[in-house]
């Protein structure tokens, strides 16, 4: 992918807008997997991410950053893509834990994807299984820095490389042919149950 470094001359207005964006990140957490439990502590008294202006929002229309907190199964992926496409720009994606990078401990499961970045553009991945609230705050602060310096533009990638993402999404979501080929039992199975594919 091309380098997303913003061009050097950024006008005063751009800087101001980026300052606003950076100081008021509204997040939408799509609570898949184990990661959701780390968000209440980071939002409440102990870690309190509201001091950076980060608050949870109820709907994708209002949110700036989508948190994908953990492994993503195929059904979930469908919803995540829908949510991501509903969010107005600019938008960012934060992926939590090793499950969203290489599958984590679910890497050989038949129903969880291994790399989220193949299906939607991910800005930051947080390491850990599960990342502690400190790591979450660190990631959000990195995101703030990226926004200020004009780097955080993965959503532009989504528009530019839409075919690539769409192809990947379709490959896993709309399977029409068996991946492993059909075995003997498979053929019996499909003969007996003609309407299975509907």
């Amino acid at each position: 992918m091309e380098d997303l470094k913003a061009n050097d001359k950024r006008s005063y207005i751009d800087n101001l807008i980026d300052f606003f964006r950076k100081r008021s990140i509204w997040m939408l957490h799509y609570c898949t997997g184990c990661g959701a439990v780390e968000l209440p502590p980071s939002m409440t008294s102990r870690w309190d991410i509201e001091r950076f202006g980060i608050v949870p929002m109820a709907t994708p229309r209002q949110a700036d950053v989508l948190l994908v907190t953990g492994y993503v199964s195929l059904k979930t992926l469908k919803r995540i893509i829908k949510i991501y496409e509903q969010m107005p720009e600019p938008k960012w994606v934060l992926a939590f834990g090793s499950c969203t990078v290489n599958g984590g401990i679910y890497w050989d499961s038949y129903n969880t994807i291994t790399n989220l970045a193949e299906y939607i553009p991910v800005d930051i991945t947080v390491s850990g299984c599960m990342p502690r609230p400190e790591a979450v705050i660190d990631a959000l602060q990195t995101l703030m820095e990226m926004i200020q310096s004009g780097e955080g533009g993965a959503y532009k990638k989504y528009k530019e490389n839409y075919e690539y993402y769409k192809k990947n999404q379709d490959r896993v979501l709309r399977k029409t042919a068996p991946i492993l080929g059909s075995s003997e039992t498979e053929s019996i199975y499909q003969e007996k149950e003609g309407n299975y594919e509907t």
Binding site: G103, W107, Y110, I113, K175, L180, S183, Y189, K192
Partner: protein, 158 residues
Amino acid sequence: MKLDKESIIELLNQKGVEVLDLYPNQISVNIKKDNLLNHLVFLRSIGFDHLSFINAVDFIDEGEFELVYHVWSYTHKIHVLNKVRISRNNPVIPTIVNLWEQAQFYEQEIHEFFGIIFEGNKDLSPLFLENWVDIPPLRKDFDTKEFSVRLFGAEIRR
């Protein structure tokens, strides 16, 4: 009337099924596929009114599936595992939806994950998987690792 475990084993032995005594409140029964419905009806008639679960096990080396019907009685406080073996090449078994309604979901699930066909069940549509066209995923001959590598591009690093 509460029956204790011994008298239940006695009753079942009279019916001519082999019974295994497992734990203080658990017995296991091996039955034939043809005998399944009769046996479950009999169990229900003596007070085993709750079907907890149905599960399937894939014995790939023996070429058989084993279906386990977990039945529990609130009066006798006894848990009975009814084990049925069916051939892997022709995985067909009569449905028990008419006996216990909740079996509908268990049967749908087993059909989805093992490809076992429940004769007489009208709705065997998929519950969990979407657009699944492969071998049912919980069969032993389904290689999840290979599948994950091919579909999701999982990497194997050493």
